[in-house]
Symmetry: C2
Subunit: 232 residues, 2 copies
DNA sequence: TCGGGCTAAATCGTATACAATTTGATCAGA
DNA sequence: TCTGATCAAATTGTATACGATTTAGCCCGA
């Protein structure tokens, strides 16, 4: 029998990927027994993995009711994106004008991977695009920022899958290139502006659309009843 | 037998308090059995509590070696304080000029509790002072910011206990008052300045002193050997 | 037909048993 | 005396058993 938390990590990683790739959709129940059987592990181990995921709010655990894939509300989504805006600003402020050639190369490679996947129609381009922001955080050398960014990026992906439209991410390759250029020549004001609008385009517009759709949806749903009340 | 995670929460809260009040000092081993016996719970429950504490980095869990009270390095301390500076700036930027009278009153009450405890020499004044920053975060209405601030404040307390000198916190009452005043009249530039220097005084100077002490300590430790090398 | 209570199935929360690992002490040999 | 191997004690990692809780289906009486 293997020891250590290797198995916990494996299950954690597996579930996390499945959630972020939308194989497990928000709201899906995650019973400990079923998952344990799948992975060939006991509930003890599965539970620990689920608790880790709950720690980054990718799954919801409600006492005595089990775990489900998290289904953030629009309010939670707005809160998340708003905080992410600020944290990304923290990151670029720390990096602006301080990028080494090696780091610039690393970023360019990341963008190229994203571009290639996007051109070839592979869905990993989403993961690569998200990783770009994580790599930026890593370059600050601040473990805490990395930790936060990892959570923020993961949860953002979940939310985009829930509310977003894929087309919003199309422009991100060029925007990522512009960000790197700006980081290199140290134009902080322009950099902040670019990052803000980049995130606005990718994140906020998606959920704003969702919010409008939802409002309209409620109106439509209620319309027949209003009609009935008027005539009845 | 009670159900739910109530018992986990109780143990979590108990351990957390003990750590933050420095009853359990950094490095102290936290064996699951011993704690379980103390609280009258099984290892299962204790383990969960320890994992929660590890989640906010108040305890260290190393595979097969058990949990100890976290003992952050000076580098980790610097990283934490640096990020905390930025997050606190996020908070005041969101609150500046937007404080309701009720909120101002709440803050004043918090400061008074701190002042009273300080005047009477009760050690809770430290907890009250830390809570002030948490209350500010709560007033932003952003659950995420509250979450982050809670972690940051908790870990800051741990670090101050490890490296800090108590006298640095003396001036915080007046500084907290100034912050509230500034939040009310909406002078953002001055507010940012105040908060920066407030945190600098409370946090950074403490560990800078510790760093100098440590450096000097190494010099002292090495001195005899240098002497020996010179004569040998 | 419909709502309220009852029961059974599913699933979680906790305790406990046992295996695996670490750690420190002991002891033999150089 | 010192070094390294070996073994026992302490402690963690995982599996599993069992009680507790939720949930949903079912039946029955109105």
């Amino acid at each position: 029998m293997k020891q250590r938390g290797e198995r916990v990590d494996a299950i954690y990683a597996g579930l996390r990927l499945a959630i972020l790739e939308q194989v497990l959709q928000p709201g899906t129940k995650l019973p400990e027994d079923a998952i344990g059987e799948q992975f060939g592990a006991s509930r003890t181990v599965v539970r620990r993995a689920l608790e880790l995921l709950a720690g980054e709010e990718l799954v919801d655990i409600r006492p005595n009711r089990g775990a489900t894939v998290a289904k953030p509300s629009l309010d939670e989504a707005r809160d998340l994106f708003s905080v992410r805006q600020d944290v990304e600003q923290m990151v670029i402020r720390r990096l602006c004008g301080r990028l080494t050639p090696a780091q610039a190369k690393r970023l360019e490679a990341q963008i190229e991977a994203e571009e290639r996947a996007h051109r070839e129609g592979r869905p990993e381009y989403i993961r690569h695009a998200a990783e770009f922001h994580l790599v930026l955080a890593e370059m600050t050398g601040s473990p805490l920022l990395v930790r936060y960014m990892r959570q923020l990026v993961g949860r953002s992906a979940l939310i985009l899958g829930l509310y977003g439209r894929p087309r919003w991410t199309d422009c991100s390759v060029q925007e990522h290139r512009d960000l790197v250029t700006c980081l290199l020549n140290g134009d902080l004001a322009r950099l902040e502006h670019l990052m803000h609008h980049h995130l606005e385009a990718v994140l906020s517009r998606a959920i704003d659309t969702a919010a409008r759709d939802k409002e309209r949806g409620i109106r439509d749903l209620l319309a027949p009843y209003v009609e009935a009340a008027r005539s009845g």
